[in-house]
């Protein structure tokens, strides 16, 4: 049903009327060089930024090594259900990793409050900020925020040097037309609202683990 919008035309008319007055010219130099330092070695930079963001980043050589890394992370977690993005890549990985715990796949709905961890893929890794770029197709919106631990399985070929490239790619592939949600995540959930003291795990994951497979 269309939203009733009695003030829409009046607001637009006021905006247009206001903009009839030309803008004042901009002062100062309009030419400038690069804003951010160029990323020379994306993988190295990604690892550095992950560390600064208090994320755990593990590099693996192949799928078997990734499964082993995943098993170790899962063994370090308290008992309980884990939530996994229902994707053939993760189904294959879980067959090898073989978690001895209950699994809820994203095809069964969103993650539950009692989920101990979530496992997802990503759309991209961003070297400049040590970020993961996820969208709703990666197991849904809650997949990267509800559980206390979020584990990401990614590939080095998904690495882009900077944020602008990641966003340009997202525009080019119409990611927000295909997904109702996307997020650039740069660390675990945190707050400094009490005396500016950093505390992890404010509302979302206290731990963010990224397993990056380099051979693929």
């Amino acid at each position: 049903m269309a939203t009733s919008n009695p003030s829409r035309e009046a607001i637009l008319a006021r905006i247009r009327e206001g903009l009839r007055t030309p803008a004042q010219p901009m002062e100062g130099n309009t030419f400038y060089g690069p804003i951010f330092e160029a990323v020379e070695n994306p993988l190295e930079r990604f690892q550095q930024e992950c560390k600064a963001n208090l994320m755990e980043c593990q590099l693996t050589d192949d799928a078997a090594a990734s499964a082993q890394a995943l098993t170790q992370v899962l063994q370090s977690l308290p008992p309980g259900e884990i939530f996994i993005q229902d994707d053939p890549v993760l189904r294959r990985l879980m067959t090898v990793a073989g978690p001895q715990r209950q699994v809820r796949w994203s095809s069964e709905g969103g993650p539950r409050e009692q989920s101990q961890a979530t496992i997802t893929l990503v759309d991209a890794l961003i070297a400049q900020t040590g970020s993961i770029f996820v969208s709703a197709s990666g197991g849904g919106r809650g997949a990267s925020v509800v559980a206390p631990t979020h584990i990401v399985y990614a590939f080095a070929k998904q690495l882009v040097p900077d944020l602008v490239t990641a966003l340009r790619n997202a525009t080019a592939d119409g990611r927000l037309d295909k997904n109702s949600y996307a997020c650039v995540i740069s660390g675990s959930s945190r707050t400094a609202d009490i005396e500016k003291i950093l505390v992890q795990g404010a509302h979302g994951p206290m731990r963010l683990v990224v397993i990056v497979e380099t051979s693929a």
């Binding site: 939203t3 919008n5 003030s7 829409r8 607001i11 637009l12 006021r14 905006i15 247009r16 206001g18 903009l19 007055t21 803008a23 004042q24 901009m26 400038y32 060089g33 690069p34 804003i35 951010f36 963001n53 095809s107 709905g109 409050e113 900020t129 970020s131 709703a136 197991g139 849904g140 919106r141 809650g142 997949a143 990267s144 925020v145 509800v146 944020l163 602008v164 490239t165 966003l167 340009r168 525009t171 927000l176 037309d177 997904n179 109702s180 949600y181 996307a182 650039v184 995540i185 740069s186 959930s189 707050t191 609202d193 009490i194 005396e195 500016k196 404010a202 509302h203 979302g204 994951p205």
Partner: protein, 492 residues
């Protein structure tokens, strides 16, 4: 949930008979003499300053970053109708709703009616200064809904029945012991050592119940991305993500000035906002919401509504000189650096937006009752120097003073006489020099007699509570001729 929350006191409500200006002066005097408050703010600001400086140093060319952000916002504001319509079209195409609200009452009524019609009992809110501006929470509570602020700082000030103290750090004025006492009283759990980790864990536990119970999540928006039709929300805690993921209705409420042209603009705006707001390279969760849950998605809201609030903003567009005020990205950097804010604190302003940007903006949004805020500045220009979108804040304070004076004129005949005298002196340098000579000698005589700060002292406004400023032996012009000028010109 057993905890019941008081509705926060709306900022700007002045229950006493005092005018806003009188209340401001009274509260400023009280707050600036409160040494405990000053110590808490000093510690917070020192911590921010260090992080902010580190953050700026990480960016190769900070001035270029500011320039780029200024250009992005300038393009958006000067084509505001085009970009808002582009944004609206995208949202509608995906099954979302866009409501244009002329003022806060219209926006509140839309959200309240929506919530009532959908049987909403519990609402979770992520931080949104626009919802503070329109006093949304009390409207929803008045019809029996439980409204939970989920940003930790907002949650704390909600429990205290206070307005946010700061636009980025709402509970900056409180220390851990005060928060421990508050939680014991309102949440019924004691954390004797007031460990911030444990205090945060308690708030997380309480608010998790709210997230999973809520039928409606209300968020603000840091940016509206026109070409993507997406609402961009930056949070560190993840409360913004939970508020927009778990409830079956998501309502994003924001001002019309938040639109930007392109998704890739966030490649500069996100890092600059985070650097200016907290000193981080980027906020932990930089989120983009572009519609209701799609059929093939595991979760998400069934309904997505965007409320675009005008509330006086469109009126600013006609004023080309002041239009750039709408470029503000609400990072809070101008508050943090302002020597006035750092001494009188956020609540003294009694406005939704405190500090320099609030002093510039509020008189335009709320009228001449707040014109006194144009004088809540030393005009040192520190605010302008840190603004990440290059808003010439201290000049706008001067513009506001000029414009208000044009309308209302000098306040008293004495003031009028003083300005006439000042004008004459400024137009006649010899007369000005003579005035300075007389003033220096008169004040020296007066201060020598111990009459500083008395009714006879023309500098009484300063010296009645402070040590008089030492009087120079020479005029500025004489000093300039002797040595200052040579130094300034590099001893040429």
């Amino acid at each position: 949930m057993s905890t019941s929350l008081p509705s926060p006191k709306p900022a700007g409500e002045t229950p006493s008979a005092l005018t806003a200006a009188q209340k401001f002066l009274r509260d400023a005097a009280t707050k600036s003499a409160d040494l405990v408050h000053r110590e808490i703010i000093r510690k917070n600001m020192d911590s921010y300053d260090a992080a902010h400086n580190r953050g700026r140093a990480r960016i190769k060319d900070w001035e270029a970053a500011r320039r780029k952000c200024q250009e992005i916002k300038r393009e958006a504001i000067n084509h505001l109708d085009r970009y808002l319509l582009q944004f609206e079209q995208k949202v509608l195409e995906r099954g979302g709703h866009v409501f244009w609200a002329a003022n806060g009452d219209e926006a509140c009524a839309y959200i309240k009616d929506l919530a009532v019609s959908r049987g909403v009992k519990t609402v979770v809110k992520s931080k949104s200064m626009v919802t503070e501006e329109m006093h949304l929470a009390p409207v929803l509570e008045a019809v029996g809904m439980h409204v939970w602020e989920t940003d930790l700082g907002e949650f704390i000030v909600q429990l205290r029945n206070e307005a946010p103290y700061h636009i980025v750090t709402p509970a900056m004025h409180l220390d851990r012991n005060q928060i421990r006492d508050l939680f014991r009283e309102k949440l019924g759990e004691d954390i004797p050592d007031a460990d911030p980790q444990k205090l945060v864990a308690l708030a997380r536990r309480k608010l998790r119940e709210a997230f999973f119970a809520a039928e409606m999540g209300i968020s603000g928006a840091n940016f509206l991305v026109a070409d993507a039709g997406a609402v961009a929300i930056s949070t560190n805690e993840g409360n913004g993500r939970l508020s927009t993921s778990l409830p079956r209705i998501h309502v994003a409420v924001t001002g019309i000035e938040k639109v930007i042209p392109r998704l890739e603009d966030l490649g500069t705006l996100w890092p600059v906002l985070a650097t200016s707001g907290t000193g981080q390279p980027i906020t932990t969760y930089s989120t983009l919401a572009s519609g209701p849950k799609r059929a093939d998605e595991a979760d998400g809201p069934e309904e997505f509504h965007v409320v675009l609030l005008d509330n006086g903003r469109s009126g600013l567009l006609a004023n080309a000189e002041e239009r750039e005020i709408l470029h503000c990205i609400r990072c809070g950097a101008c508050l943090n650096i302002c020597p006035v804010y750092r001494n009188i604190g956020g609540h003294t302003y009694n406005t939704t937006y405190p500090g320099p940007i609030g002093s510039v903006l509020t008189p335009h949004l709320r009228g001449s009752e707040f014109e006194h805020l144009s004088y809540a500045s030393s005009l040192c220009g520190a605010c302008t120097s840190v603004c990440p979108v290059n808003i010439n804040l201290h000049h706008h304070l001067l513009h506001n003073r000029r414009d208000f004076t044009k309308v209302s004129g000098p306040k008293t005949s004495g003031e009028r006489r003083q300005f006439k005298l000042w004008r004459t002196a400024m137009l006649h340098p010899r007369l000005y020099a003579l005035g300075g000579w007389i003033m220096r000698r008169s004040l020296r005589l007066l201060y020598g007699m111990g009459l500083a700060g008395t009714a006879l002292d023309p500098m009484r406004a300063w010296s009645r509570k402070r040590t008089p400023v030492p009087l120079p032996s020479q005029s500025f012009r004489a000093r300039w001729r002797s040595d200052l000028g040579r130094k300034a010109n590099g001893n040429k």
